[in-house]
């Protein structure tokens, strides 16, 4: 799968080139920051009307990752919807598609800052998920261990190429944003510099997951 294998608090994980995290032993596929309904929210707020195909595109990529890994559990690590109204704004086709993806497996929604509450969709709604030795939450906490989070949409640059990236150190992994219409935050941002410990890595997404040393200021 061209993924990058690493271990976090003893759990063997794979950073997939698509931006999803695969925990084979637990049969768990984690994706973060889908931001479904972003274009709808922008239009609703009187901004621009972006091509309304981003839900379709994000779900088709998620479907491909599910087909490739056949997980028992899919975990959406917060900001799955761009806001709570975007859940209602999802068109029927997209809602059915999502329901179909959820069928036959456990589905966990971790709440994020954009979607701070349960939605109409089934599945388990949690503030965070603990599954030893790991803990999954939307926003990283400074002293956590074995923590998997999202929120920051990290991206990393190698030469002239800048791509969404996983950030990995001994204590945590921060997932890149999986949603189609999402921007990114540079590694050189102060918060990310503060969060990531010694010998941290950035794993670039793309055709192959490519690890590089986490860029330091």
């Amino acid at each position: 799968m061209n993924g990058f294998d690493f271990s976090l608090s003893g759990a063997a994980l794979t950073a997939l080139p698509t931006g999803a995290l695969w925990w084979a032993e637990a049969g768990l596929l984690a994706v973060s920051d889908l931001h479904l309904g972003k274009s709808e929210r922008l239009a609703r707020r009187g901004g621009t009307m972006l091509p309304p195909y981003e839900v379709q595109e994000t779900l088709s990529r998620l479907e491909a990752d599910i087909a490739a890994t056949t997980p028992d559990t899919v975990l959406c690590l917060g900001d799955s919807f761009d806001d709570l109204d975007a859940v209602a704004g999802l068109n029927a086709v997209a809602a059915q598609w999502l329901t179909r993806l959820m069928a036959g497996r456990k589905w966990i929604w971790v709440t994020g800052n954009h979607d701070p509450g349960p939605t109409q969709f089934d599945g388990t709604h949690l503030a965070e998920l603990r599954r030893a030795p790991l803990v999954f939450r939307h926003i990283a906490e400074p002293c956590a261990q074995g923590e998997v989070s999202g929120h920051y949409h990290p991206k990393a640059r190698l030469g002239r190429i800048s791509r969404p990236a996983f950030l990995i150190d001994a204590d945590r992994v921060i997932l890149p944003a999986y949603g189609t219409y999402t921007g990114g935050l540079r590694c050189r941002d102060r918060t990310l510099q503060g969060l990531m410990g010694e010998r941290a890595l950035a794993v670039l997404t793309g055709a192959t997951a490519t690890p590089i040393p986490f860029p330091r200021n």
Binding site: E40, R44, G47, L50, P51, Y53, G183, L185, T210
Partner: protein, 800 residues
């Protein structure tokens, strides 16, 4: 016809002036609904434009706005205000003149809306903004004349298309409005007249005496120009000597980066401390204003500048123009030369300084063209529809509109005279609903139709529309300022892509000084002064002009001549060396060289099709190489050649140029390439699909917005028939892709391809290795290199 009041005759007489024939002609034809004056620089063109206005306003009976003057440059409006103020004061005319640009203070702009002056001097963008206000009919009530200065420059860009739409709007608001265009000498006056006319009406053309031929030559230097590079620093001693011999010299460069490097080197060599300045569009306003003021008072002996000083600013006593680097285009060269000697019927003096050996050839060809009076140009096409989309938004911001009336108005503008109703309706639909095949935004449409008139769904959206007015889409820029406790002096801007590659301690050039990168603070780059270190060069992706077809033809003609006595000895020697080692490119054949260099295979294609077409050729060829497993890594294009490098050599380069395969592959290729994505971004910003990134919105350092490439890919995949893709295609074909010149080249060479396999770089190919603007190929070769780079970074960090 307007007669001059006696005060004017007295004023002319008191100055010992007499009115020029074309100024008289402008007065005689003052009633014409549309009038175009073609006059050389220094011919009193601007006064010719304003005389009818001054005469009509002399009796003091006019209330409110009378004449709107539009120029492409902010600096020009300030300049004209100063120049008009003198006669108005000396003749004691009851006329109030003000300028209004993006630099005008908020308070002053507010007051101007409430109480407009008689003559308002402004830019196309500021006019568009004024027209977006609900009180536009009141602001422009009573307007009699519009004077468009430097219309030859505006007519070549989207800014001009936008301006013509604005004039169409003004003509509806002010019946009887008269239009005047002032143009430098151009190859196609009728084309500009059609551009300016209010269709179906006509536009008359007046020609002033073109004046004497310029005194123009190539600067002789002791040191020959370098093999490669574009800086012209070898000529600095000779140029300094010229500066000493003249009152004021303008030293033109083709790009901002080159101007920066040159100014830095000039300053280091300036042993007698001649006062020299630098002026270009990426410097802070404070910096530019300081130089402009010093020019006007005659304090500077030379200014190193770019196109930002290209237009008719009257910088007092300029008596020499130096053009560093090949001029690319004969017409623009002639207009630049006109900067020197703003006295009617005095020849302008100019020197050309080729920056490298190839440019020597181009300069000699350009000199021949100037002497032969052959100007070059490409006929302008229809107005692009992204500009129309923005115009519809601007119209909606001003108030509800009737679509039939707006269509009639829009098609009265020259660039949109042939627009069909179907095309117009598609633009309206895009603005209102997004224009997607999937009608997703019924509830959130931008525009709604009520009782046959269109209006904003949410009137608050007008503010956002105003923020996005304008058709210039720059690369994302970041401000640079000196670091101190209070937030130091602003120095200018660099491209965000360049800023991203800086780490603390790196030095680079800006405003002619070397600075050290200290860090980022709220998306502003903080630097400290530092001299001596060898600096990096900030990247400015200003418009790069392609060498015109006519000039390329002349260069090929020069190669063909047996006699190179017109060329400097060093250049003739270089061409002979090329002849010995390989061949010289010919008009009706295509020369392709292959050679290894630094462990990579290289192929150089001398198409002489101009920078944009050579760039497209690079994209097309690398795609074909990628398909056949040749793993190209990148290419670089100049006006005369494309150099491709990669992991493998093409066994038979001629096979790559099969005209039919190239044309067939073009369609599929077109959608996937980077040039299209760049064109798409610009069209999407202009048409209002994505908002401009204002500095405030990026302050957090978090990219709230995402790459427009994602939107492009999404549209191509899910909505290939979308209007914006059609606009992008049209824009790219005309501009950056320039496929017509590839077609021209393929016709010209008729399948005659000369492949020369060499063991090392040829003399003619050498300059290409130092060209900026290398384009990486997004393919298998790049993925492999990325993996290698990542691997070595990991090893260096002890992580692998």
């Amino acid at each position: 016809m307007t007669t001059l009041p006696p005060a004017f005759d007295n004023w002319f007489t008191s100055r010992g002036w007499s009115i020029h024939p074309h100024q008289k002609a402008m007065l005689n034809r003052a009633d014409a609904p549309a009038l175009l004056l073609i006059a050389p620089t220094g011919g009193g063109k601007t006064l010719a434009g304003f005389l009818p206005t001054l005469a009509e306003l002399a009796d003091g009976n006019h209330n409110g706005l009378h004449t709107l003057y539009i120029s492409p440059l902010k600096a020009l409006t300030a300049d004209i205000r100063r120049n008009l103020a003198a006669p108005v004061a000396e003749m004691d005319l009851p006329i109030r003149i003000e300028d209004r640009t993006g630099d005008t203070s908020y308070t002053k702009r507010r007051r101007q809306r409430a109480d407009p002056p008689h003559i308002l001097l402004t830019t196309p963008e500021s006019l568009a903004l004024l027209l977006s206000y609900e009180d536009a009919p009141r602001i422009f009530a009573g307007l009699k004349r519009v004077v468009v200065d430097e219309i030859h420059a505006l007519s070549e860009s989207k800014r001009g298309d936008q301006l013509m739409l604005c004039l169409a709007r003004l003509s509806s608001l002010c019946p009887g409005l008269r239009r005047v265009g002032l143009s430098a000498t151009v190859e196609d006056p009728e084309g500009i007249a059609r551009f300016l006319a209010r269709h179906p009406g006509q536009c008359e053309i007046l020609h002033a005496d073109p004046g004497p031929d310029p005194d123009i030559a190539m600067l002789r230097t002791d040191a020959p120009p370098p093999w490669a590079g574009g800086g012209g620093s070898h000529a600095i001693p000779a140029i300094l000597e010229q500066v000493r011999q003249h009152r004021t010299t303008l030293i033109f460069h083709n790009t901002r980066a080159q101007a920066e490097i040159f100014f830095h080197a000039l300053w280091l060599a300036n042993s007698d401390n001649l006062p020299v300045g630098i002026h270009h569009g990426s410097l802070s306003r404070e910096q530019r204003e300081r130089v402009e003021a010093a020019m006007v008072t005659g304090e500077l002996r030379a200014v190193v500048c770019t196109g930002s000083l290209d237009l008719g600013i009257d910088w007092g006593d300029v008596d020499l123009v130096v053009q560093v680097g090949a001029p690319k285009n004969v017409k623009r060269l002639v207009q630049r030369i006109g900067r020197a000697n703003h006295r009617y019927n005095a020849p302008s003096k100019a020197l050309l300084v080729p920056a490298n050996r190839f440019e020597v050839v181009e300069c000699v060809a350009a000199l021949e063209a100037v002497r032969a009076h052959t100007l070059d140009g490409t006929p302008r096409g229809r107005g692009p529809r992204d500009v129309l989309c923005q115009h519809i938004l601007i119209t909606a911001a001003a108030g509800a509109f009737d679509p039939d009336a707006l269509f009639a108005e829009v098609t009265s503008a020259g660039p949109y005279a042939s627009l069909s109703r179907t095309e117009f309706d598609a633009c309206l639909d895009f603005v209102a609903t997004g224009g997607y095949a999937l009608r997703a935004y019924d509830r959130w449409q931008r525009l709604k139709c009520t009782d046959g008139v269109w209006h904003l769904r949410d009137p608050r959206a007008a503010a956002q529309i105003r923020m996005n007015i304008g058709t210039i889409v720059d690369a994302e820029m970041m401000k640079v300022r000196l670091k101190n406790n209070r937030g130091g002096a602003p120095l200018g801007e660099v491209e965000e892509a360049f800023a991203a590659t800086l780490t603390a301690g790196d030095t680079f050039l800006i405003g002619g000084q070397v600075v050290r990168y200290e860090g980022l603070r709220e998306m502003v780059i903080e630097v400290t002064r530092r001299s001596g270190a060898s600096p990096r060069i900030a990247v400015f992706s200003g418009t790069k002009f392609a060498t015109s077809t006519q000039l390329s033809e002349r260069i090929l003609g020069l190669f063909r001549r047996a006699d190179w006595s017109g060329l400097p000895a060093h250049t003739a020697r270089w061409l002979r060396l090329q002849l010995q080692m390989s061949k010289l490119p010919e008009h009706d054949r295509l020369l392709v060289e292959t050679f290894p260099h630094e462990g990579r295979a290289h192929m150089c294609v001398y198409g002489f099709a101009g920078r944009n077409a050579q760039q497209t050729l690079g994209l097309l060829l690398t795609q074909r190489m990628e398909e056949t497993g040749l793993r190209p890594l990148g290419f670089v294009a100049t006006d005369y050649a494309t150099l491709i490098w990669g992991l493998d050599l093409p066994p038979d380069p001629a096979a790559l140029f099969d005209a039919k395969a190239m044309r067939d592959g073009f369609e599929t290729w077109l959608t996937g390439n980077a040039v299209m994505k760049r064109t798409f971004r610009s069209a999407a910003v202009i048409a209002g699909l994505i908002e401009r990134n204002t500095p405030g919105r990026r302050k957090s350092g978090r990219q709230a917005t995402f790459s427009s490439d994602i939107l492009y890919d999404t549209l191509v995949k899910y909505d290939p028939g979308h209007l914006l893709l059609a606009i992008t295609r049209e824009g790219a074909l005309k501009g950056l892709v320039d496929f017509s010149r590839i077609e021209e080249m393929l016709d010209r060479i008729g399948g005659r391809i000369d492949h020369v396999a060499l063991s090392r770089v040829s003399p003619l190919a050498a300059p290409l290795f130092l060209e900026a603007g290398r384009v990486p190929v997004d393919g298998a070769g790049q993925e492999r290199l990325l993996a290698q780079q990542a691997q070595s970074a990991m090893q260096a960090a002890g992580l692998a």
